[in-house]
């Protein structure tokens, strides 16, 4: 039974989804941190280093590290040219959560872009699903 749960957790689909959620959270935290520190602009502001003055930024950094670990786990099993396009589901999740949580606006054109990304994701994901089936047959 625990073995089955482990196997389920190790599913590359789940890992990619989990990774996308962690990345989205990290981006929101970093934006909150950057928003809080934007007024601190000095000579070195363009390096982004002043962002470290906000604890949101540090929370964002923790999530970035988490996302790196989960991403490496994904890369272990999935070719980069499939995993990376799929990870772009964050381009749907990030604008949506900016809209929901940060009060940023989504124009009609941006909604169209989001829809296109989704279509592209489905097209990329299909051969990946087939590849997975083949892997399972081998097991």
């Amino acid at each position: 039974m625990p073995l089955r749960i482990l196997r389920w957790l190790g599913n590359p689909w789940l890992q990619i989804a989990l990774n996308a959620l962690i990345v989205t959270a990290s981006e929101l935290f970093l934006k909150l941190g950057a928003r809080e520190t934007a007024h601190l602009a000095d000579r070195w502001a363009w390096t982004g280093i002043s962002g470290l003055n906000s604890s949101w930024t540090w929370l964002g950094i923790v999530f970035v590290i988490l996302s790196l670990v989960s991403w490496l786990y994904v890369l272990k099993q999935v070719p980069l040219s499939i995993a990376f396009p799929l990870s772009n589901v964050v381009h749907v999740l990030v604008p949506l959560s900016c809209w929901l949580f940060l009060g940023e606006l989504i124009s009609p054109r941006r909604w169209c872009g989001i829809a296109l990304v989704l279509v592209g994701l489905v097209i990329v994901a299909k051969p990946f699903a087939r590849m997975e089936e083949k892997l399972e047959e081998k097991l």
Binding site: E27, L28, L30, K31, G33, A34, T37, A38, A41, A45, W46, T47, G48, I49, S50, G51, T57, V64, L68, W71, L72, L75, K76, P79, L80, S81, I82, F84, P85, N88, V90, H91, V94, P95, C98, W99, L102, E104, I106, S107, P108, R109, R110, C112, G113, I114, A115, L116, V117, L118, V119, G120, L121, V122, I123, V124, A125, K126, P127
Partner: protein, 113 residues
């Protein structure tokens, strides 16, 4: 758009792509030979590259909306698609390329508005 922010966005993009390729290469090495010297050879530069990209992005975030800025990384789909095929010898299928193009196009649309 002024040229300096554009250069920063571009640099953040390139360092990001390089980091991804190095990470994938490191994980391939880890499967062949464990987490040894070969893994570190690719993983450490990967981390450095990603760190540069991270701080440049943070600096850009201080001046632009996240929903405007983030999608620029979407261009990396195409760049990674090509570089993974060239440098990592991953298979390049038509379906994957069409999917990647659509994603990039969508991402650019998102960032234009």
């Amino acid at each position: 758009m002024k040229i300096f922010p554009f250069i920063l966005i571009f640099t953040a993009l390139i360092t990001f792509v390089a980091g991804q390729l190095l990470f994938k290469r490191a994980m391939v090495a880890s499967q062949n030979a464990g987490f040894g010297k070969e893994f570190a050879t690719f993983f450490v530069p990967g981390i450095v590259s990603m760190t540069v990209s991270f701080f440049l992005t943070l600096g850009l975030l201080q001046h632009f909306d996240l929903s405007y800025l983030y999608p620029f990384q979407g261009l990396s789909v195409i760049i990674i698609r090509v570089t993974a095929a060239l440098l990592l010898k991953e298979k390049l299928t038509l379906q994957l390329t069409i999917g990647a193009l659509l994603i990039s196009l969508g991402v650019v649309l998102v960032s234009l508005s």
